[in-house]
């Protein structure tokens, strides 16, 4: 099985030249749970945007699940992202006007591949949320804005996992949670990721979480940020 992420000789600049990033080599082994640590401004968000194919590097390549994310046309990149990657943000993961269930099932709309993995979206979504400790009632009826931050993050996990994408990317998913909730959240996330056989790439600045991961990498060792003159 192809490694979930491989980066070689990557060079990227944001338009306007304010900020750029060089990544000579980076590999996420299949099935691994990797933590990237680094202070803000180290280029975490930029690296994740590159892996997810939202931005294009000027040089070098990014492969996701063996496919050249960096070499594809925009539409194909969107499709590859939808098919292969489940994404969890720091906070405000959900569309506020939709129910949790609608939020969870949304990726299936963009990825026929993930849709094919799911026999019944509603039932699969509910068994995921049950495993994540969310009451059905809340998932089916409540608007996302009525959920607590911790509940919202768990809904986000369910959404990232539905349809079993091989790679889960999480951008400081615990930073909005208190310490107890952080531990509980990570327990649930790890259990589900393991059960699905997915790989996890998580960015965090909290060293206390490090012992839980297979691999911990300081971002500074992988990516060299460049600040423009402007």
């Amino acid at each position: 099985m192809a490694p979930p992420v491989t980066i070689r000789d990557l060079r990227f600049d944001w338009p306007g030249g304010r900020f750029g990033l060089d990544v000579p080599a980076f590999d996420l082994p299949s099935g691994a749970k990797m933590m990237l640590t680094g202070a803000s401004g180290a280029g975490k968000s930029t690296l994740l945007a590159l892996i997810c194919g939202i931005v294009q590097p000027q040089a070098g390549r990014v492969d996701v699940a063996g496919q050249p994310m960096s070499g594809l046309p925009p539409r194909a990149r969107d499709r590859l992202r939808a098919d292969q990657i489940g994404i969890i943000f720091q906070q405000f993961n959900l569309l506020p006007y939709a129910t949790a269930l609608d939020n969870i099932c949304l990726p299936l709309r963009f990825s026929p591949r993930r849709r094919a993995q799911v026999s019944n979206p509603r039932d699969d979504a509910l068994s995921l949320t049950q495993a994540l400790g969310l009451p059905d009632d809340l998932v089916l009826r409540a608007k996302s804005t009525d959920l607590s931050v911790g509940q919202q993050q768990r809904v986000a996990v369910a959404r990232a996992l539905l349809g079993a994408p091989p790679l889960i990317v999480a951008d400081e998913p615990t930073s909005a949670l208190d310490v107890d909730a952080q531990a509980e959240f990570l327990d649930l996330l790890f259990a589900q990721v393991t059960q699905m056989g997915a790989s996890l790439l998580m960015v965090s600045h909290d060293p206390a979480l490090a012992p839980r991961f297979d691999i911990v990498q300081p971002l500074a060792k992988i990516a060299m940020p460049r600040r423009g003159a402007a």
Partner: protein, 416 residues
């Protein structure tokens, strides 16, 4: 599913969306209403005079003859001699003929001398008769029937005396020969509303003591004497003619136009009315232009609303992008939203239009003599609605394109 989400997204911004749709609804109702009004005015205008086959006058322009004979606007260039009138009237193809004599006025209203047959022969709006709201048709030499506007503007009642001024906008009054109002006509929406109608002989009678536009010095002839006199007019201004058979209209028209002893002309009212509408049609274009501007304003308002909402929706766009939505999908969602709001606005607008028509129809008829028929949407109306929708999509390309740019630049995180 995307549709359902787009709908709930709109519902969460309910008030703004509703107000925007209302603005579009009002503009659509206005543009369709102006069109209906225009058609109604055009039809009512064309129906100013009906069932009259020809209008005869001294030779002049067709529109000018129509203006003074029917609308009582402008100067009368020349007259028809009584002899010529008699000759034409005696023709076998003439079914009926009603003489009209113009030239005097009362306040701002024209005075028209004619025969009682005028009340039977003059029809408007596809054959409607003139009806008296009050009183009766004049029977004495010094009696007058006035139009609805004359009565309303000057506050006249049956039995009131009125003095006719010599000429138009003149201070010289026929004071020695006052008239008495015997009848007030119902509102018609035609120039008859603004006319004082007296007998043809009365016009002659009040000018007995006059010569070359001025009163002869000396004692005026008393009304009693005038009543005894032979008051056959020497000339008239125009005549309304009905033919025996419609096939004879053109023959008679030609005969009048080529009348040997005097330069006369005859016009077909419908043709001349159309010609006249072509001239005043510029106003309708202006009206239409204004309503188009209102539509554009409403659509720009919608674009501004969406543009202003974009920054609040950057998070929404970033989430959709992360889940695999392309920038094109996000642009499409915004356009679909614009189209949806515009469509709701259009449907509401059509509803408003008909509600407005039902309310305004009787009032327009009474107050302005414009009859607006409540009919279905014409293909032209539907085309207008379609144009509004297309324009909505075009205008909202601006916010949609901006959303496209934002979602490209933002990527997964909202950058400020």
């Amino acid at each position: 599913m995307l549709w359902r989400l787009a709908l709930s997204s709109m519902r969460s911004r309910g008030l703004t969306v509703v107000l925007t749709a209302l603005a579009i609804a009002l503009s659509v109702a206005l543009v369709l209403g102006v069109e209906k009004l225009r058609l109604g005015a055009k039809i009512s205008f064309a129906d100013t005079i009906s069932d009259t086959d020809l209008i005869m006058g001294a030779r002049t322009g067709g529109v000018q003859l129509l203006l003074y004979a029917v609308f009582r606007i402008g100067a009368v260039p020349n007259t028809i001699s009584w002899d010529s009138y008699q000759q034409i009237a005696a023709r076998p193809d003439v079914n009926w003929i009603v003489p009209i004599s113009l030239g005097d006025s009362h306040r701002q209203f024209r005075v028209m001398g004619t025969t009682p047959a005028f009340f039977d022969r003059y029809k408007y709006r596809s054959g409607r008769d003139l009806t008296l709201r009050d009183g009766a048709v004049m029977s004495d030499l010094f009696e007058a029937v006035i139009g609805a506007d004359v009565a309303e503007t000057l506050g006249y009642q049956i039995g009131d005396p009125i003095v006719v001024a010599h000429g138009v906008a003149s201070f010289v009054q026929h004071e020695d020969t006052p008239f008495r109002i015997t009848g007030i006509l119902d509102k018609t929406g035609t120039p008859v509303d603004r006319t004082v109608i007296v007998g043809l002989e009365a016009i002659e009678a009040i000018h007995v003591d006059w010569q070359d536009g001025a009163q002869r010095p000396g004692t005026p002839t008393p009304p009693e004497t005038l009543r005894q006199m032979e008051l056959q007019p020497k000339a008239i201004t125009a005549a309304l003619i009905g033919v025996q058979s419609r096939l004879q209209i053109f023959t008679l028209q030609r005969a009048i136009n080529e009348y040997p002893s005097e330069p006369l002309m005859a016009i077909i009212p419908g043709v001349a009315l159309q010609e006249l509408w072509g001239i005043i049609g510029i106003a309708e274009t202006a009206l239409l232009a204004v309503s188009v501007i209102v539509v554009v304003t409403a659509l720009l308002g919608m674009a501004a609303m969406m543009l202003a909402g974009l920054s609040a929706r950057r998070r929404e766009m970033a989430i959709l992008r992360a889940l695999g939505a392309g920038p094109g999908t996000i642009m499409g969602l915004l356009l679909a939203e614009a189209l949806f709001i515009a469509a709701i606005g259009a449907v509401l607008g059509i509803g408003l239009l008909y509600a407005g028509l039902v309310v305004a129809q009787p009032w327009l008829d009474v107050a302005y003599g414009i009859f607006v028929p409540i009919s279905g949407l014409t293909p032209r109306d539907l085309l207008t609605v379609l144009a509004v929708l297309v324009a909505a999509a075009l205008v909202c390309l601006i916010p949609a394109w901006r959303a496209f740019r934002i979602s490209l630049a933002d990527g997964m995180s909202v950058r400020n």
